[in-house]
């Protein structure tokens, strides 16, 4: 049986992924999840100004390639520059403190615009003095750093946005 926290975690992960449907079966218990398409993972194309549909709207009402911004209408004008096009997010594999550089004095591992290879170390997440060097795991370019140096991050929290094109 899955615990409530685990289900919550899965929902979060699926929310952030490009998966539309998910089902999991164990010992006679089945968990099924399905996303409304418009709340699904963001797509490659730059977000067009949103149709002001509420988040709960059915998918037919909204163009599927449209990203719903986290903030409502008044943010739309700034939207263009704020969320750049990306198709991959590097997420934290554990709870901990996010470090963008190996030491306080050194240069950051990556910056906006940095080209990364799958094995490029992009940051460190530290929990209980275990220092986890996070690799990009994809080839591409960092387009947005979502967390500040020294900030606490959650399991599964997106840290970087990457274009793999």
């Amino acid at each position: 049986m899955l615990k409530v926290e685990e289900i919550r975690e899965i929902i979060k992960l699926i929310d952030e992924s490009s998966i539309d449907e998910f089902s999991y079966e164990t010992n006679g218990t089945t968990v099924k999840m399905k996303k409304n398409k418009e709340t699904g993972a963001p797509t490659v194309s730059a977000p067009a100004p949103t149709v002001s549909a509420p988040v709960s709207a059915k998918s037919e009402e909204v163009v599927t390639t449209t990203e719903i911004p986290a903030q409502p209408e008044q943010e739309v004008s700034k939207n263009e520059e704020e969320s750049k096009a990306y198709d991959y997010e590097i997420v934290s594999p554990m709870v901990g403190t996010f470090y963008i550089a190996p030491t306080p004095e050194s240069d950051p591992f990556v910056k906006n615009g940095s080209k990364v290879e799958p094995s490029t170390v992009v940051c460190i997440v530290e929990a209980m003095k275990l220092f986890n060097e996070i690799e990009a795991e994809v080839k591409g370019e960092i387009v947005e750093i979502l967390v500040n140096n020294g900030e606490l991050v959650e399991y599964g929290q997106p840290l970087f946005r990457v274009t793999t094109k």
Binding site: M94, V95, M128, F131, E133
Partner: protein, 327 residues
């Protein structure tokens, strides 16, 4: 496969003060008496003092105190820990060498150990003083088949194993400062730095670095700006044999690790809390630019720090700078 040399050492060690004849050794090891004699010469090169008495046999008068891959392996009672040992007289840091070795696919349990580190480091690259032959500076490569979020528990497990080894000596009374510094009389004697390479759901490898101050004199060990430091010699007023201590630590680590894989964190938690520093006391935590005071009540089922900021409320902490003494 146990090497002939290793078997030879064991036979001699088991016999303690008694002599074993060359013939007896030759029979048991299936090698000639000349070969035995050659092995004895090699042992002497590695720092063992062997006594050969005509018509009686051989015995070890003194075990080697030289640290080498051989002396560490001989008499090491483990099944996977330290089966591969990389010993160097001087390195920049054993962590650095271990990372390189791990990338070249060295096996689980490989130990990198140095007499001296020119650039020993701790958390956030803070300098760790590691003079020649005065302490244990080593890094262990682990390849656990665990999800990455479990890995931080390995640091608490390592600290527990080291505390247990030190605790065998009545007077030391080691404490563990969460998550993994070993203290004696409120002063730091050992630090652990754990680094991991992992994918989202799979650990490639973990390098556990251990720095233990052993035979430094009072004047040889500068206090860090972050803590007061001590050594085993300063606390006990005697020299400690490095080889034996390394072996004890590796044996304890293997045992703790196996138990951890089998039973999970609960067994570590209980032991850890027995050594826990300032449990039940008021501490101060900083994270980012936030700061708060709270009572430190123990550790959680996953090793996180448990605090009580206000009566009846419990919070889990995974990462913070902690000030352990609050008025």
């Amino acid at each position: 496969m146990e090497s002939t040399r290793n078997k030879l050492i064991r036979l001699l060690a088991d016999a303690k003060e008694n002599y074993i004849s060359g013939q007896q050794l030759s029979d048991q090891l299936h090698i000639s008496r000349t070969a035995i004699w050659k092995h004895m010469k090699e042992l002497e090169k590695d720092g063992y003092v062997i006594e050969a008495k005509p018509k009686t046999g051989y015995r070890i008068k003194q075990f080697s105190e030289n640290v080498s891959a051989n002396t560490l392996k001989w008499g090491l009672n483990t099944s996977w820990m330290g089966k591969e040992i990389i010993h160097k007289p001087i390195v920049t840091s054993t962590q650095h060498v271990a990372h390189q070795a791990a990338r070249e696919n060295t096996p689980h349990g490989t130990v990198v150990i140095a007499d001296e580190q020119s650039n020993g480091r701790g958390r956030m690259d803070r300098v760790w003083h590691s003079e020649k032959g005065k302490g244990i500076w080593m890094s262990i490569i682990l390849r656990p088949e665990l999800p990455p979020y479990i890995a931080p528990q390995l640091t608490l497990m390592t600290a527990t194993a080291i505390a247990e080894v030190l605790d065998q000596h009545d007077t030391l009374k080691p404490k563990i400062k969460w998550p993994n510094d070993i203290l004696i009389q409120n002063k730091k004697v050992a630090g652990i730095l754990t680094e991991m390479q992992a994918e989202q759901d799979r650990i490639q490898y973990v390098v556990v670095g251990i720095g233990l101050n052993v035979n430094q004199e009072n004047t040889e060990i500068p206090d860090s700006i972050h803590y007061k430091a001590t050594s085993l010699k300063m606390e006990t007023e005697k020299e400690w044999p490095i080889v034996e201590l390394v072996q004890q630590i590796l044996e304890a680590l293997e045992k703790e690790y196996n138990a951890f894989l089998e039973n999970g964190f609960p067994s570590v938690k209980t032991k850890w809390e027995n050594y826990g520093f300032r449990i039940g006391e008021k501490i101060s935590l900083h994270s980012g630019n936030k700061q708060k005071n709270a009572i430190f009540t123990g550790i959680a089922e996953d090793g996180a720090l448990l605090i009580e900021p206000t009566k009846g409320k419990t919070e889990k902490i995974y990462s913070a700078e902690i000030d352990w003494f609050v008025e």
